[in-house]
Amino acid sequence: MTAELVRGQNHPLDRTRVEIRISAGGPVMAGVTLGDDQGRLSGTDAVAHPGAPCRTGVEVPRQAASEHRIAVDLDAVADTVHRVSVLLALPATVSSLTGFGAAAAPRVAVTGLDGTPLAGYSITGLGAETAVVAVELYRRQGAWKVRAVGQGYADGLAAMLRDQGLPQAAELAAEIEEAVGLGRARAVPSPVAAGRAEQPTAAPPVPEGPAPASPAPDASAPSAPAHGGDRVDYRHPRRRTAPAPAPAAAPEGPKIPEAPDGPQTPVAGDAAGWSMDERLYNQVWGMFEDLARSVAAYRSACSFAESRLEQELDQALADPRNRLGSAAAAARAAARDRHAALVTQARAALDRDLTQLTAESEVVEPALPPAFARWDSPVWQGHHAPQEPPMAVRLGDLHLPEVLDLRIPMLVRLPLERGLWIDSGPSSYAWQADPGREFGRRELGSALTEGPPDEAVLGRLALDTAVAVAARLLAAHPVGDFALQVIDPGGTAAPALAPLLETGALREPPAPGAQGVARTLEALIRRVDLVQMAVRNRAADSLPPDVDTAQQLLIVHDFPHGFDDRAVNQLRYLADEGPAVGVHLLIVADRAQSQEYGPVLDPLWRSLLRLTPVPDAHLADPWVGHAWTYEPALAPQGSPIVRQVLSRLAQARPAERH
């Protein structure tokens, strides 16, 4: 069972001979350092690098490449070694990249020798760093564990080695750079080093000194002479380059170049919970509450400042002594100053909170599992159906007009307790009235740009939102645990539903007309009744075989078109009784169109969670009751990710069935 780690997380290793596979967006150099229980290096011979690729128990590739395999035999490393850190660096001689942030995030996988994945980690959030400690294997009470570190160093390899307590950091870094340059000169198109590392069992624990096959000298030798390379080394063979900085830096304790921006650096999963998902879920809700309260404090301060200003202006006006002379103007100016000072202070307090929350959001967002992640998150690229349903899904993003760029994921617990209603009605939006909505519209990365949205566009967006939600629910559940049904009597949703149909997520096209509506509803009601009966009598085994026990999501498009009174009542029954037995509603509708039913349907609308296909401020938080702008979780325009995920699910489906 492979574990996907987030920064700071650890995972036990069940074996001591492992391979570490690295893939990066460009050529990188890989190395390994062997640290003691304090993480400090005893000397240059505790570093395996392209210039000296073999150390006791480890072997690293000689060249910079975008893919590496490093063999590690943890039984063979010396007893004094407690920390085996895998580091990546961008060698200046080979790479044109200026930092890890300029290419795709490097990925590290720890596997067994047979390729069984044990743990994986994508190093996200890197920027100008040119060296990074990717993962470390460490000894804890006699057993080995792996920890995702992801600590970047903008000052490169030398800073990293210095941080691990190596006095000769600068020299060694220069030496490694040079060895990488040589390796590149020597390299033939096929990566020799990677091929060799494939037989890690054969790699004997080489004691000290140069490895037999290694033409590069030991790291303790002054510097690597240029042999066979096409680059001429102009340096004096005995003279060290740049000897100055290392001793000066040595007395300093381990320092972290990425200076934490607040009192504490935020960490993903910094909340209570039994699993990583639960911790992240709680953390997101914690951020939600903190943002709500911080903004409440700010708003309350601003409105107090406003009312005090008015009061003071009134007083200044009312005071008869102020009628003559400049006293009134002075009093007014003083009142305005007091107002401005308070607002500035309040804004400063808000900004302090926002800085912290933004930093937290930046580490939390990349760590989110697919069910919680945005569609543009890289986790969807490698998505495969999970073993168990998640505790929640992301239905969209929430933000406040004060802080447009801080988006809080709107996570909703599963199984859904309420049905969803995606409002496709244009009449619901007072487009001109509210400046807050103007923000929303401009940010929207999809079809709407200028002017009020027309009905057709809005309808299509509503359907896209519904498909995105359905795809996310499907992808978040184990294969076969979640099924879709669609009611679309007019057949107008067909183009939008195409991805679901083509990938088999929807088994058959929705039946047309009123009969189709009736049949689908009948079948679902039969299922609800039977499952309810089975649950009540604890007789789950005696359900007829044709009852699908998977959770059902019923997408109703074009409500109430094609519905008669009977069908409307059936739908209300499903909305009330369904969620408890795993039948959920997702209605795409314009409320105005069902006006002829009068207030009879109001309870139905109220029982559903209203979502909008375009950003709209209509959701209130449970603590303070701000109006939050909801933005649906849609894939970026033109992105094929939803379809990709669906077709990957389609591939997984038959395998699971048989």
Binding site: R293, A296, A297, S300, F304, A305, L342, A346, A349, V624
Partner: protein, 192 residues
């Protein structure tokens, strides 16, 4: 060093080392009414409530009490309503925590009150006290003994207010009558 205050006594406090307070807790404790013999359910329970009112100037902006446990900004938290009291051994039965560094900038005073929701006067309640504790050090700043406080059902206990860049605390100890904090607002205003 804790200051033991009697009714109506006022005293200004700064932290002993000259620094300012960062977090304070107002604790309230009392002994529950003695249990009746057979139908113990019908014991006349004693319910004291602690409340904190947040003022901006003379205007009450927010209040933290048993129906609103966290102020909107999240800086003042009530740990929950206790409706029967405790053992009377000196532990807090209700507490209000104030994170002074997070209090919104316009709030300049926070007034703490105690009232008897079930109507017993402090003369009838045994081992009742309220106290203010510096939450960062656990040091008790002030303590009032409510028991024997006469025929009053409420007390405006103390306030913390902004002083310079930090906060300081002033004990008030003004006895009053009232069922909830709303009844005490007139008694608070002279002390703002």
């Amino acid at each position: 060093m804790s200051v033991n205050l009697s009714k109506g006594q006022g005293i200004s406090l700064q932290k002993s080392d000259g620094g300012t307070l960062a977090a304070v807790r107002m604790g309230l404790g009392w002994r529950s009414a003695p249990r009746r013999g057979l139908f113990g359910r019908r014991t006349n329970e004693i319910d004291l409530d602690a409340s904190a009112v947040l003022f901006a100037g003379q205007t009450p902006v927010d209040v933290v009490f048993f129906q609103h446990l966290i102020s909107d900004d999240g800086s003042v938290r009530h740990t929950g309503d206790n409706r029967v009291g405790g053992a009377g051994q000196g532990g807090d039965d209700e507490a209000i925590l104030v994170d002074l560094s997070r209090v919104p900038v316009h709030i300049d005073q926070i007034v703490f009150t105690v009232n008897s929701f079930t109507g017993q006067s402090f003369a009838e309640v045994q081992d009742a006290f309220c106290r203010l504790v510096d939450e960062t050090t656990g040091q008790e700043l002030a303590r009032y003994t409510l028991t024997g406080g006469g025929q009053y059902t409420a007390q405006v206990m103390s306030k913390v207010h902004r002083a310079g860049n930090g906060w300081s605390m002033t004990a008030i100890g003004e006895p009053a009558n009232g069922r909830t904090f709303q009844d005490l607002v007139p008694a608070m205003l002279p002390h703002l």
